[in-house]
């Protein structure tokens, strides 16, 4: 029987700051540009990997309190940093790998996003960087 994993408690750190308790969703996508390598004689298109173009998209509750979301991100916009995601907050291991983007770029930071009757939240995209997965 197939076993699926319900990720209810993933861990997210941005520039070494644990923002898991402010995060409501996060997706780290590993992607490589597809370079067409089809040639005469091929009956189907074929591709090889080009440059990596990874990204992390996450939704965070906005908080301007000390050591919270804004304090973490304000000085990072327009710079490169490191983000790490894990399925759970437990130690890294074979069943709890860590996924890291090193030197990833935060292009934009919505400094305020307010809607009546809703908790303020922001969407961030960290672009590029070097991807690594670790199990130890």
């Amino acid at each position: 029987m197939a076993i699926s994993t319900y990720l209810s408690n993933p861990s997210l750190t941005v520039n070494a700051v644990d923002l898991s308790d402010q995060c409501t969703s996060a997706t780290l996508t590993v992607k490589y540009d597809a370079l067409e390598s089809s040639a005469f004689g091929n009956s189907s298109r074929s591709y090889v990997a080009g440059l990596g173009d990874h990204e992390l998209v996450c939704e965070l509750f906005m908080s301007y309190a000390a050591s919270e979301t804004y304090a973490t991100l304000a000085a990072l916009v327009g710079t490169q940093t490191t983000v790490v995601m894990k399925p759970t907050s437990s130690a890294v291991g074979a069943t709890n790998p860590s996924f890291t983007l090193t030197g990833t770029y935060l292009e934009a930071l919505p400094v305020i996003d307010a809607s009546l009757g809703e908790l303020s939240s922001i969407s961030l995209t960290f672009k590029g960087g070097t991807y690594a997965a670790a199990v130890a």
């Binding site: 520039n15 070494a16 700051v17 644990d18 923002l19 000390a66 050591s67 304090a71 973490t72 304000a74 000085a75 990072l76 710079t79 490169q80 940093t81 490191t82 090193t102 030197g103």
Partner: protein, 52 residues
């Protein structure tokens, strides 16, 4: 080199050893860590009178 202030980074009071790509200036500015470097004293200005 750095000491942790905020539990979001680690145990407050512990030394913080950043990896190469961690932006420590952003962490200091955000109040997460503090630098242990002691400020360097500026050179004292000593007034001297010229002998005539």
């Amino acid at each position: 080199m750095f000491t942790i202030i905020s539990p979001r980074v680690g145990t407050p009071g512990d030394k913080f050893e950043p990896s190469e790509d961690i932006n420590t200036e952003a962490l200091i500015e955000g109040g997460f860590i503090k630098s242990d470097k002691t400020p360097t004293k500026s050179a004292k200005t000593v007034e001297t009178s010229l002998e005539e």
